[in-house]
């Protein structure tokens, strides 16, 4: 599934041992994917490969992180991997939705790639429908986190220090008080599946998600990426962190073209 880029004749697979893998879930508002775009664009990450998969709708375009004429002509497809060895960070960006009934095979292949590439831990950026919050969730922060048991041991304490809120479980049968509590992430796409599979496979995974609705989700992406930054410290956060993130050139014209002058 993972095909490394051919860089100067070196076809060996890059080594991700001990790296943190950051990836988005295709979820409401595409917030995870937008946040990942900000990370790749700001840290100027290098593409190291892509996923050859039949599980995602095909798409192709020119380099979405282009900053100048010279770097604007590299092709970019629906699932690509970028890396920044200095921060031991590897990022997967997913740019299209899943083909019907293909999300399970994708999750399986993804998790087996995570294991075989020896990543130390996985951080999944996601979102959930804001309108499905209960009364308590309507108050306070819209950001939540989840940790698999293996990662809980390692960083659970850090989350306490940061005063983060863990995603609440909800009653399996709302309205009936005496039922089991289950994890429910509406609008989160493959988030719940990846998380529960990681728990059972012993993978160290953290999920960071924001409650949001469809619309202009750029502010949501900034909030989520700043949340991530509180923990991973990818950029300096003492100064106003929002101004440090670089918006990629592909975010232009998100809401349509210019207007015809004749309209007025």
């Amino acid at each position: 599934m993972f095909i490394p880029c051919d860089r100067g004749g070196d076809c060996a697979a890059p080594d991700f041992k001990g790296f943190t893998l950051l990836l988005p879930a295709v979820s409401v508002g595409n917030v995870g994917q937008l946040a990942i775009d900000l990370v790749i664009s700001t840290l100027d990450m290098t593409k190291v490969g892509y996923f050859y998969t039949d599980c995602l709708v095909p798409m192709v375009g020119n380099n979405p992180y282009a900053t100048a004429e010279e770097n604007s002509t590299e092709l970019s497809i629906n699932a690509e991997v970028y890396s920044l060895p200095s921060k031991k960070l590897v990022v997967l960006q997913i740019r299209s939705p899943f083909i019907k009934n293909k999300y399970r095979p994708f999750c399986e292949t993804l998790l087996s790639w995570v294991k075989s590439s020896n990543c130390a831990r996985v951080v999944l950026l996601s979102s959930s429908h804001a309108y499905q919050r209960d009364d308590e969730q309507l108050l306070g922060t819209p950001l939540r986190y989840l940790l698999t048991p293996d990662l809980e041991k390692a960083v659970g304490g850090r989350m306490q220090e940061l005063n983060w809120k863990e995603m609440e479980k909800v009653a399996a049968y709302p309205g009936i008080s005496d039922t089991d509590k289950v994890l429910h992430i509406p609008g989160g796409g493959i988030t719940k599946l990846l998380f529960t599979e990681s728990c059972s496979k012993g993978i160290q995974m953290a999920v960071l998600l924001k409650f949001c609705s469809e619309g202009d989700n750029i502010p949501d992406a900034f909030v989520l990426v700043n949340y991530l930054n509180e923990w991973l410290q990818l950029i300096r956060s003492e100064v106003n962190p929002s101004s440090q993130w670089k918006i990629p050139s592909s975010w232009r014209l998100l809401f349509g073209n210019g207007l015809p002058p004749a309209l007025f």
Binding site: A66, N101, S127, S249
Partner: protein
């Protein structure tokens, strides 16, 4: 969300994936429809191998029909406009011969295994240049569904023996989909844009497709 008429509807999500909800909300009617579609798709190929797409090569060589086609240039025209372009300007029965056809069925179109097609039919045919049999051409005017695109690719390219292969893909998109600073009303259309891999060293005859425009479906695959 509440609509103008007051009823509450579930807003469609751009994320496109709500599998949990999809699985829960699938009514018995939906399940039946899905099963029928799957049955119809697979029924077409009860004689051949599994799968919804068959590539039938009709050329005969001295050896066995399973021999791969050696290919150095492959031109693929996807969509009715591109297929019509090839029919009008490139193809003729003197220089080109039909060497294959793709048989597929999906909810939008069905192709047959006949190679004698009308321009208004949905078809996917392969031609070979008689004077240089390593030059292949494909006219694909049928719609290949998103869950068939990968299979189409694997089956078509899998039957080829690539010899420094150069692939050219011709396709069309509506001008209204083109993202640009000005309005598309004032653009001189039609116009050409290109995408190329870094391995493609020749001159491209038109400007490259600017961000944030993308290509999707079979041409992207």
């Amino acid at each position: 969300m509440a609509t103008f008429f007051g009823e509450v509807v579930v807003a469609p999500s751009r994320a496109g994936l709500d599998e949990e909800e999809e699985a829960r909300e699938e009514t018995p009617e939906d399940r039946e429809i899905r099963r029928e579609i799957e049955k119809k798709r697979y029924r077409r190929h009860c004689s051949g191998g599994g799968g919804e797409i068959d590539v039938l090569w009709t050329w005969k060589s001295g050896g066995c029909a399973e021999e791969p086609l050696v290919c150095s240039r492959f031109i693929v025209a996807i969509g009715r406009n591109a297929a019509a372009f090839l029919s009008s300007f490139i193809l003729d029965s003197v220089c080109w011969e039909v060497v294959g056809v793709v048989k597929l069925w999906n909810e939008w179109c069905r192709t047959s295994s006949t190679t004698n097609v009308l321009p208004t039919d949905s078809f996917c045919l392969f031609y070979r240049l008689i004077s240089d049999p390593t030059v292949l051409l494909c006219q694909c005017s049928c719609y290949v569904a998103e869950d068939q695109q990968f299979q189409w690719l694997e089956k078509v390219f899998g039957s080829m023996q690539k010899k420094s292969l150069q692939v050219t893909i011709l396709s069309t998109c509506p001008v209204a989909d083109y993202k640009t600073q000005e309005s598309t009303l004032t653009l001189a259309s039609p116009f050409l844009k290109a995408l190329k891999t870094k391995e493609f060293q020749d001159q491209v005859c038109c400007p490259l497709l600017e961000q944030p425009n993308i290509v999707r479906d079979l041409p992207a695959a």
